[in-house]
Subunit: 270 residues, 2 copies
DNA sequence: CCTTGTGAATCCTTTCACAGCA
DNA sequence: TGCTGTGAAAGGATTCACAAGG
């Protein structure tokens, strides 16, 4: 993929394109190129990437139990997806299965690790050593290893220098130098909301290109920086929505007064 | 029963900026009827629900700063999405805007809260009071309030009875009784992987219908239970994938692919 | 003018179903 | 025979672009 049709774009900028839209003529498609690129066609859907990580964990468990091969059906059940999706996902990384038999666990593990870039260790820095930061710093070098935490930062003077999970906490002013020095490739933000953007800016300044953000704020970053967000409040609210929907449905089927009715424009779906 | 419906991954989406949930699972409908009757068109897409939660937070911030109205463009930028998507999302909950003007902040807040079911408090139980559980228990009654933590559980004898965040830890054997008694509607699992399924079963037994799972395992639940998963390892691995892809592309541009960032006015040209 | 609300087009994912092969 | 790999169909979600309306 070459351009960013609305993808990266850390911010909601680039609203609509200027009036150059009347030209219904040729769509500036950028596909169909790089006849070479014998390597992995860089076409793995984002959604599939996340699932590959899940498959990897399941496969590791199977390997520990001595399984030599798995069928797509077995692996799919263990990973909580259906087998068609699983096979499609695996097909994005290549054809490593044997028809009539299944996949070799060891081979799949190796290939997925390669695709996910787990063959080289990715150095992680955690910023904000509060409750959550502590939890993250102690997360045993992070699951499956491959993500060594190499730096911890905070502003609290009482914390600076204190070892957490075997690593001393440094001051956030030192983010640029320390992160550059230790070649941190992933920054984890676990600070209070007001500090998040500042911390983010420093991480970017230090050359960190990927950020995992636990702070409930929308970070503004340059296009080349990748951000993923974990938002507790959002998770709970989505669940809350389901509780409410369930309650409404129950009330509806019981013939109870539909107090909340109203908006719907007439879309009927089931 | 095949039962393993995809667990929604509640985590940060990769695209623009924020949002969450890209895995929209198929609706678990087992039976195929539902007289449709006065079906409350709960047609709000899963992805939109997650964003509504984000809009809500942004709107609250605006209200605190005294804003009375917002345009879709302003709100969109603040939430990190584009305005068309924002308007589409809002349209799912009704028509509360004024053409040529925008939306009243207070009205939007109220409507989104109603849709998300935040008008009634949802009681939360946290199971597994380790590092992460501690962090969750102390999360100030959870953001934006509306999610009071009313029970904490663990197996460790040394923890039972100890107050964490003002609430005593109980034994997980008491999950069924205590959760039922305190009408817990959302269970948060922050236990080690091996304990997760057992804990999950007890929560379900207690009547909990929504679960937020931090343990890196695929939970098996009945169809009527909603599970969302937050998986640290997956998040890091997805970021790792992007680091790797970036590296590959960089290498490629030096040899083959003639693709650089040729963006003009949002239109791609090569 | 302005901005909302929304059909229609587009793009991305998932599912189906079967050809292909060990 | 049994299971993988994959075109093609189906389904969602996102974006476009414009009519509706203050």
């Amino acid at each position: 993929m070459a351009a960013q049709r609305g993808q990266r774009n850390g911010v909601g900028d680039t609203p609509p394109a200027p009036t150059a839209a009347e030209i219904t003529a040729p769509i500036p498609r950028v596909v169909a190129e790089v006849p070479a690129a014998r390597e992995r066609a860089r076409a793995i859907p984002e959604a599939a990437v996340a699932r590959l990580a899940v498959y990897l964990r399941v496969l590791s468990g199977m390997q520990d139990q001595g399984s030599g091969t798995v069928s797509s059906e077995e692996l799919a059940v263990a990973a909580g997806v259906n087998s068609a999706k699983l096979r499609k996902d695996l097909s994005y990384i290549g054809s490593y299965g044997t028809r009539g038999v299944g996949y070799e666990v060891a081979v799949l593990i190796e290939e997925i690790e390669r695709i996910l870039g787990l063959t080289r260790k990715q150095s992680v820095a955690v910023v904000g050593i509060g409750n959550l930061g502590h939890a993250l710093a102690n997360y045993g070098g992070f699951p499956g290893r491959g993500f060594p935490v190499t730096a911890l930062f905070d502003v609290d003077p009482d914390l600076i220098g204190v070892p957490v999970g075997g690593l001393p906490v440094e001051h956030i002013d030192d983010i640029p130098t320390i992160c550059a020095e230790r070649e941190v490739s992933i920054g984890v933000i676990a600070t209070p909301p007001p500090a998040a953007q500042t911390v983010c800016d420093r991480l970017v300044e230090a050359g960190v290109q990927c950020i995992l953000n636990f702070a409930p704020v929308v970070l503004q970053v340059p296009d080349h920086v990748e951000v993923r967000k974990v938002d507790l409040a959002v998770e709970l609210q989505v669940l809350s929505f389901h509780v409410a929907r369930r309650a409404d449905n129950a009330a509806a089927t019981n013939g109870v007064a539909p107090e909340f009715n109203g908006k719907v424009n007439g879309m009927v779906v089931t």
